[in-house]
């Protein structure tokens, strides 16, 4: 249930696959621009990779963080720390070691952590016959590395935890920060997630599930088509996003810009199947988020869907939305922005939350890209297609439904 303490979103930051800043990223989302490209990677021994993917190709870790810091990080930490520092700046917070911040913490999400470090270590040992790996391997590879680096760089003394819940990791991380601020345990939390999963092994593992969309140079950009009749599957990506969540009164007192209110969260388990999602589990999560947010379904004007473009998943999510909103479903705007930024696994939840928050702040929501031919199993909601939707957006949900059946829905309210 909603408590007296409200939670404000006062800072946003991400590493954009387009290479630009946050405003540039959101502008492209609104215009329906996809960052998906054909990713090819040669290999001496094995069949080379060639798969549609989203990469932060312009990201320069040394420039963003300084070499002596970036050297101590796996790419997943480099992306994550950069996003967190960006959100911190965006929140108008100073980088100072003076003020003690023992009630400011970190809540981070990642599905695979330092998986690139593991892969290069295995290649060195198993293929190149080396007996030892570099001594920083443990601290690069450990899944809490990003959260630790963020705490260290920003001097944050409250809890610094990392959540690993597959596709819902950063959504869970965001949700778990909510009760900490509501209860007064924390005044401010830097939340988000990061993922650098495009190792050889990880891509091949996903290919083996036969749910990755295929493509070539020309078709890659539109490979991820949620809710389309001819959708072919999901597109993997790397990325990072961060938000600053803050006690509302604290934010107002320091004159912070408030993007939106983080109103509520609902987390459930399907307890059904390792990969096939479940309507009931998703419905319960959305209802729970709405109730926790102190709102009614009638107030929700936009849903950023999980919408991965798998054959199986998309209709189940639409059915769940219709279960929650009933006769009003056709008026609820829905879009699946993975059509443009791909599925960044542990980082997806926060990037979609950022899009949802910016939609409320600007009163303009992005479309599902390339949705020309709506699957009749996905009808019944107001799909945003073509361009953006401008209108009165009072409250919005961001859905994350993970393998293993973990569902987390975040509820935001436009600031007032």
């Amino acid at each position: 249930m909603a408590s007296a303490r409200r939670v404000a979103v006062t800072g946003l930051g991400l590493v954009s696959p387009f290479g630009g800043d946050l405003a540039d990223f959101f502008g492209r989302m609104l215009r329906g621009e996809s960052a998906i490209r054909l990713y090819t990677r040669e290999d001496d021994v094995l069949r080379p990779l060639s798969v549609p993917a989203v990469r932060c190709a312009n990201f320069d870790a040394d420039a963003a963080l300084g070499r002596s810091l970036s050297y101590t990080m796996d790419r997943y930490s480099q992306l994550g720390t950069t996003a967190a520092l960006s959100a911190w700046r965006d929140a108008g917070l100073p980088r100072t070691k003076d003020a003690p911040r023992n009630d400011w913490g970190v809540s981070w999400g990642t599905a695979l952590g330092g998986t690139l470090t593991f892969e290069s270590g295995y290649i060195e040992m198993l293929r190149n016959g080396r007996e030892r790996v570099p001594p920083l391997s443990v601290v690069l590879g450990m899944s809490n590395a990003a959260a630790s680096h963020i705490s260290i760089q920003l001097g944050l003394g409250a809890s610094s935890a990392t959540y690993s819940v597959a596709c819902a990791s950063s959504a869970v991380a965001i949700g778990e920060a909510l009760p900490k601020i509501r209860s007064g345990e924390a005044t401010l939390m830097v939340v988000g997630g990061s993922e650098a999963p495009l190792s050889y092994g990880v891509v091949r593992a996903w290919e083996a599930m036969r749910i990755l969309a295929l493509g070539d140079e020309a078709s890659a950009v539109r490979a991820c088509r949620p809710f389309s009749s001819d959708r072919q599957g999901l597109v993997l990506g790397e990325g990072a996003g961060a938000m600053v969540l803050e006690d509302w009164d604290h934010a107002v007192r320091r004159g912070a810009r408030i993007y939106a209110e983080f109103a509520g969260c609902g987390s459930t388990s399907d307890h059904d199947h390792l990969v096939r999602p479940n309507v009931d589990g998703q419905t319960r999560a959305m209802r729970m988020a709405i109730q926790d947010g102190g709102m009614t379904p009638d107030e929700v004007d936009y849903i950023n869907a999980h919408g991965t473009a798998t054959r199986e998943g998309d209709p189940i999510e639409i059915a769940a939305i219709r279960g929650v909103f009933g006769s009003r479903s056709a008026a609820v705007a829905v879009s699946a922005t993975k059509s443009m930024h791909g599925h960044m696994l542990g980082a997806t939840g926060v990037v979609e939350a950022i899009i949802t928050v910016l939609s409320l702040a600007s009163q303009e929501a992005p479309p599902t890209a390339y949705l020309d031919d709506l699957d009749r199993e996905c009808t019944g909601v107001r799909h945003i297609t073509g361009g953006s939707l401008r209108g009165s957006l009072r409250a919005a949900l961001s859905n994350s439904f993970a393998f293993g059946g973990s569902n987390t829905v975040l509820a935001f309210r436009a600031p007032h």
Partner: protein, 85 residues
């Protein structure tokens, strides 16, 4: 151990510190304090690994924590000369 080899080890060290932490090689003298050169416990591990790699030796598990560049080079010298530390 002749002075040419000692110079070699010092060069390995200063090259690594320059590459890694952008330390001016002129500061890397035998008297220099490792702490002042920003060599913390993690960087020391990397240095030992670098010496192992470059010189084809194995640094022993328990070595006294060197305080100066000279201390560290002394350890490396002993290992490459085949003596125990």
């Amino acid at each position: 151990m002749n002075s040419a080899m000692k110079q070699d080890h010092l060069t390995v060290l200063s090259e690594f510190l320059h590459k890694r932490e952008n330390i001016d090689p002129a500061r890397v003298t035998p008297e220099a304090s490792l702490e002042e050169l920003r060599v913390d416990s993690l960087l020391l591990l990397e240095l030992l690994f670098e010496f192992e790699d470059r010189l084809g030796v194995k640094m022993p598990q328990d070595i006294p924590r060197p305080k100066t560049v000279g201390d560290l080079l002394g350890i490396v010298d002993k290992v490459t000369a085949g003596n125990g530390v």
